[in-house]
């Protein structure tokens, strides 16, 4: 594991805001030379800290008006193959996130849908028919805030 200094944290924060910033632009903001900035970015990539990028799309503009978080329990632990369940849930295109968790539920899912009627269809036809699925709790997302996290300044 590598130690980060304040400049590294500022680089991570800036790239989390805009992954397309060039080393030159980033360097100007940080008052660092372009080659020095580039070396730091390379080092963060090689350490496996910067793993890639994601395009942020406007859900509503593309017709996806609803995001729902699901907590899901397996009904028959031991009798159902986790691998079968996981393969099937990952393959659902509307399911954006699948996390295996410990606690009240076994899995957390993030699901996008066009509207609540569309969500109900996905829930009934795709989620409730998964092998081994038990109790499901749905919470409809109202607002979301992504923060810098521990690299915040």
């Amino acid at each position: 594991m590598i130690d980060l200094d304040d400049l590294d944290r500022r680089i991570l924060r800036a790239l989390k805001e805009d992954a397309r910033l060039s080393a030159g632009e980033l360097g100007r903001r940080l008052e660092l030379s372009q080659p020095a900035t580039w070396r730091r970015i390379r080092r963060l990539e090689q350490a496996g800290i910067l793993t890639g990028r994601r395009v942020r799309l406007n859900h509503a503009a593309l017709g996806f008006g609803v995001t729902v978080f699901l907590g899901l329990k397996l009904a028959t632990k031991g009798r159902v193959s986790l691998a079968d369940f996981e393969r099937a849930v990952i393959a659902i295109p509307e399911v954006q996130l699948v996390q295996h968790v410990l606690g009240l539920y076994d899995y957390r899912l993030r699901v996008v849908a066009r509207d609540l009627a569309d969500f109900e269809r996905i829930l009934r036809r795709r989620i409730m028919t998964l092998p081994g699925v038990g109790e499901v709790e749905s919470n409809v997302l109202l607002s979301e805030e992504r923060r810098a996290g521990p690299i915040g300044g």
């Binding site: 594991m1 990028r53 799309l57 907590g71 295996h100 968790v101 919470n139 997302l141 996290g149």
Partner: protein, 153 residues
């Protein structure tokens, strides 16, 4: 809703699958010319369909091995419970996501910690001191099985 044609959708699908590609590479995958790709991406950004690009950070590589999803129910008897809770939660550096919901859960906080001891410190020292908590329920992340955040366009 905006008027997007099949070419826009094809381009957005390719972009979601590989946001790090150059316009020339995207053009090849989408079967378009690089000029068409540049013009269309520019338009999609202007329309706000593409909101931006963010770097992905692997928190485990940064030494944050513990990730916990805290499902919070608030005491709604206090009129400003949501605002006061969220404003205070923003002050905790280890919280990287804050979401509000319609459902059994009111607010969800995603907490990153270096290890269980660190998590315990954050939980006891910071989280439990947040205002208006009626109930709090942790789900501890075991494994991310799918993190795409792609829209099924």
């Amino acid at each position: 809703m905006l008027s997007l044609d099949d070419t826009d959708r094809r381009l957005l699908r390719q972009l979601q699958a590989a946001p790090e590609l150059s316009h020339a590479e995207l053009a090849e995958r989408a079967g378009l010319s690089a000029g068409v790709v540049s013009r269309r991406l520019e338009r999609l950004e202007r329309l706000g369909v593409i909101e931006g690009y963010e770097a992905l950070i692997d928190w485990r590589a940064l030494g944050y091995a513990v990730e916990v999803s805290l499902r919070v129910t608030l005491d709604k008897a206090a009129g400003n419970a949501f605002d006061a809770f969220i404003a205070a939660a923003r002050g905790i550096a280890e919280v990287d996501e804050i979401q509000t919901f319609l459902g059994r859960v009111d607010v969800r906080l995603n907490v990153l910690a270096r290890d269980m001891q660190h998590y315990q410190e954050i939980y006891r020292g910071r989280i439990l001191k947040l205002p208006h908590i009626a109930d709090i329920e942790p789900l501890m992340l075991v494994a991310n099985l799918k993190v795409s955040e792609s829209l099924p366009i």
